[in-house]
């Protein structure tokens, strides 16, 4: 027998993924826009913060974009004094990326809006929901080849 209910549930899950991601990024996008920045800049700030002292190549792998696509927003962040670079001592070809103090401050502000959103949702949900959500998201992430 065809499980129509299951099909409906799956459609619901797909819709939830789409809308929730949109809501999730909305506030940070607005804040970025005020400074002439966009989601690409946010991702750079976020991952440079998370992988402090990482190289340009590391960032390219993480974001899975071309180096030309990274170049423009990264250069802007550097010239705005939000990201600073240094040289790897062992291998001088490698450029190390780090947030400056103001870069860190902006990143914290952006991230805070997403913190608050997740936090409020985790708190208003059933106690088990947070872990369930994380488990599912982790499993999906792990599917990446």
């Amino acid at each position: 027998m065809i499980d129509l209910n299951k099909t409906q549930q799956m459609h619901e899950a797909i819709r939830l993924f789409y809308f929730s991601y949109r809501v999730f990024t909305e506030r940070a996008d607005q804040l970025l826009d005020k400074r002439g920045l966009n989601r690409a800049h946010h991702r750079i700030l976020y991952f440079v913060d998370q992988n402090s002292e990482g190289s340009v190549g590391d960032l390219l792998k993480t974001l899975a974009i071309s180096k030309q696509a990274l170049n423009t927003p990264l250069r802007q962040l550097i010239s705005m004094g939000l990201v600073e670079t240094s040289q790897n001592k062992q291998d001088k070809r490698i450029k190390i990326l780090q947030l400056t103090q103001s870069g860190s401050q902006l990143n914290s502000m952006l991230t805070a809006t997403q913190f608050e959103l997740l936090n409020s949702v985790f708190e208003s949900a059933e106690p088990a929901a947070e872990n369930g959500w994380k488990e599912i998201m982790q499993l999906i992430t792990n599917l990446e080849k």
Copy 2:
């Protein structure tokens, strides 16, 4: 006291959202690309299917884009015979959108890859995880103003 652990967990949640969404859309994007279509076309197919006999205006509200941005991909789908239009009997200004048989077929194919992904993840996770995930996603979606 500052809860560093909490901060780390929140960072982890943000990262999970980013990567899982990327993985989630990856396969469908590849299939679309083979036909010269993209995610925008997919969204149209998906929401026209979900809200069958909905109007152009309904679709615009759902997708939250400008009518000019909708126009091109929608026109392409119509000329490819994937979406068909008809007129609302009560109000002739309103154009009703529906998937054709081949539009429905393509949509099913695309959606199937996301079904399979979610299904396999829901099945390999703890039994409670699926509902937890849905609850969280629903709560986030409901935050939309």
